[in-house]
Subunit: 364 residues, 2 copies
DNA sequence: GCCAAATAATTCAACCACTAAACAATTTCG
DNA sequence: CGAAATTGTTTAGTGGTTGAATTATTTGGC
């Protein structure tokens, strides 16, 4: 119960645009001022919240003490490995990017261990720089363009040529990362989480990421839906033309053949229509009100828009009752890496009690 | 916290196959025997649980007192209106059907008010019969073949010819139902809930219901996903052949044109393939491991099976890693009505504290 | 310039719900 | 018949929340 209320208070402060006082938090949560005071004290002494001195003055009365998330506490290490680059960043509890390293290089010739060692080196640099800056890296998340099974095993990453790679074990070989909890997730899933953070408004949307392959991250009611085995979002292999072009997955007429990066670069005329058909299926099935186009789609959003919307208008049963909103991604190429870092700090935000417990143990 | 634990105890008893003792519940939930005792006493005196005398003897020790859900407490009234029948049933807390009334008649000529008045009469009979039997009808849920907006407004039910009908208001005109909380939901959604109850095992599946139209109910992690506006599951209008037959929804190549009841009756050769294509999209997007075929599909399941599975094998990216299970629905034509009644008792089960509060007020 | 009103935060007693441990009840087994 | 086992209750203690009173610090009227 205390754990729940700690999270409630922390989220309230986090989601508030200004720097709320204890009294404001009390009003927003429905908890008593006394309770909020006690909880806030714990969060402050545990290094998750800080009191800020100059609160905005308003009317009579004792001045309020503003509260805000710390920028020197726990942080998340976001990692991404993709076909043509490696990237690492550190995001603090407020969501600010504190470190950012990107290394452009084709990863396909390298074998997985080499690639992950290079990424590990980048990650180690980011971690050390962040910790020199007063941050405590709470964990790392890695975004990969492929299917991930539980416990950080990459089952297949077709465009990297990977198969059954234990990415966590490889990263843990780097001495500076050996003690760090690492999770692995699909690139589109994490990018969707990143987008959720910056959009704020819409808790339910589909993020679709056009890279060499096409992935999607589905956020329902503010939560990423990963599927039972973590293999949701494979929109690239949704059939749009049943008897269409053969796909390297063994099927025919997959969306990827018409709207993947290779098709786009060769000026495929059906790209927007194919996207529209696949997205209509998503909306008909899930009643998703917002679709965010990311990856390679974001820069050419305006060129795709009309073609997609035409299909949605025609093919979505409820398009007459309420239109589907189409938006370019707010984060650019950093989305997955940002989302990965965000996943770590999200975990701290959702379970501050766990963090306090662990961080008190650190000093015993 | 008490509310949460009351629900926990009640669910534990409900999900248990035998009639567990307080000690068994304590072991299953992790709560202390003392706590469980206190909670169980509340549930017994509130009329949700009953103690059963003859517990199965085993070994030494004081004999246990078995616990089981009451069969004389709260009950759910499930209603269904469809093209060619009206139906009402009452299900008690244990999930047993206690009353069942079905009236076959084509509803299309009747105007909505007439049809709902007839259904209301059926519902009133079911309620009175149930209450004569010692049950307390806690609420009613109505399954309709159409799109429902919040607060019981049926936006469109194409096959009934309905548009913007306030079904709750119409039912409340029946004097015997005037005091009853009534909700309205899509037929496939409620059928999926009904299926969830009887399957028990799989908490994540897609239920697909082949009637005149084709609807789907999506159950994720044991919860029905209704979509932001409650319009999820419109799989009948997912595009399978982009340039295919025109559909009355204004689009082309909708699944309904190839696998709707009318197509099935005319021996459509593409039915199974079309279903397979649409279902592949669902699995690729959501990683759903189980698909349940209901409505008109259930009796012809074996005829459809191979055709659907062939498409799934070809078109689902992860079909090589883990196959998708295909099953006929366990409940027959009663699924939606059963699911509707179930939705009511599900609410009681999930918030027993609320029920206890309300039922204590009833006697003040 | 001072006091009243207003607002923020803390302190303190009471209470609720859970836990742990002792205890009572009732059986089986040697 | 008594020891062991098992269920269920009682009792004392604890963590966490509430509500009321208290303290702290400002504005504004006179």
């Amino acid at each position: 119960m205390r754990a729940h209320n700690l999270a409630l208070v922390l989220q309230t402060v986090a989601n508030s645009t200004n720097q709320p006082s204890r009294a404001a938090v009390s009003a927003a949560t429905g908890l008593t001022r006394a309770t909020v005071s006690a909880l806030v004290d714990d969060l402050v002494s545990g290094g998750l919240l800080v009191e800020v001195d100059p609160p905005p003055r308003t009317g009579a009365g004792r001045p309020a003490v503003g509260l805000t998330l710390t920028s020197t506490g726990p942080a998340g290490l976001g990692l991404e490995i993709n076909v043509d680059y490696l990237a690492a960043c550190v995001v603090d509890l407020t969501g600010a990017v504190r470190q950012r390293f990107v290394e452009h290089a084709d990863q396909r010739p390298a074998d997985p261990a080499q690639a992950l060692a290079a990424l590990g080196a980048l990650a180690a640099r980011a971690r050390l720089a962040a910790e020199a800056d007063g941050l405590i890296v709470a964990g790392a998340a890695l975004a990969v363009p492929g299917l991930v099974a539980g416990r950080g095993l990459v089952r297949v990453a077709p465009n990297l040529g990977w198969q059954d790679i234990d990415a966590v074990a490889e990263l843990h070989r780097v001495p500076e990362l050996a003690d760090l909890p690492v999770t692995v997730d699909n690139e589109a899933n994490l990018a969707a989480l990143g987008e959720l953070r910056v959009t704020g408004g819409d808790p339910t949307f589909l993020y679709i990421s056009g890279e060499i392959g096409i992935g999607a991250g589905l956020v329902l009611d503010g939560e990423l839906y990963r599927g039972v085995r973590g293999w949701s979002g494979e929109i690239g292999h949704v059939t749009v033309y049943p008897d269409g072009r053969p796909c390297r997955c063994g099927s025919r007429g997959c969306l990827e053949q018409y709207a993947g990066q290779e098709a786009l670069e060769s000026g495929e005329p059906l790209a927007a229509a194919a996207l529209g058909i696949a997205l209509s299926a998503v909306v008909n099935l899930l009643d998703v009100p917002v679709i965010v186009l990311g990856g390679a789609y974001a820069p050419i959003f305006e060129r795709l828009r009309e073609g997609i919307e035409a299909e949605l208008r025609q093919r979505v049963l409820t398009s007459g009752l309420a239109p589907v909103a189409l938006r370019p991604a707010a984060l650019g190429a950093d989305a997955a890496m940002r989302g990965a870092a965000d996943a770590i700090i999200r975990a701290v935000r959702e379970d501050p009690a766990g963090w306090l417990r662990r961080s008190s143990q650190r000093y015993v």
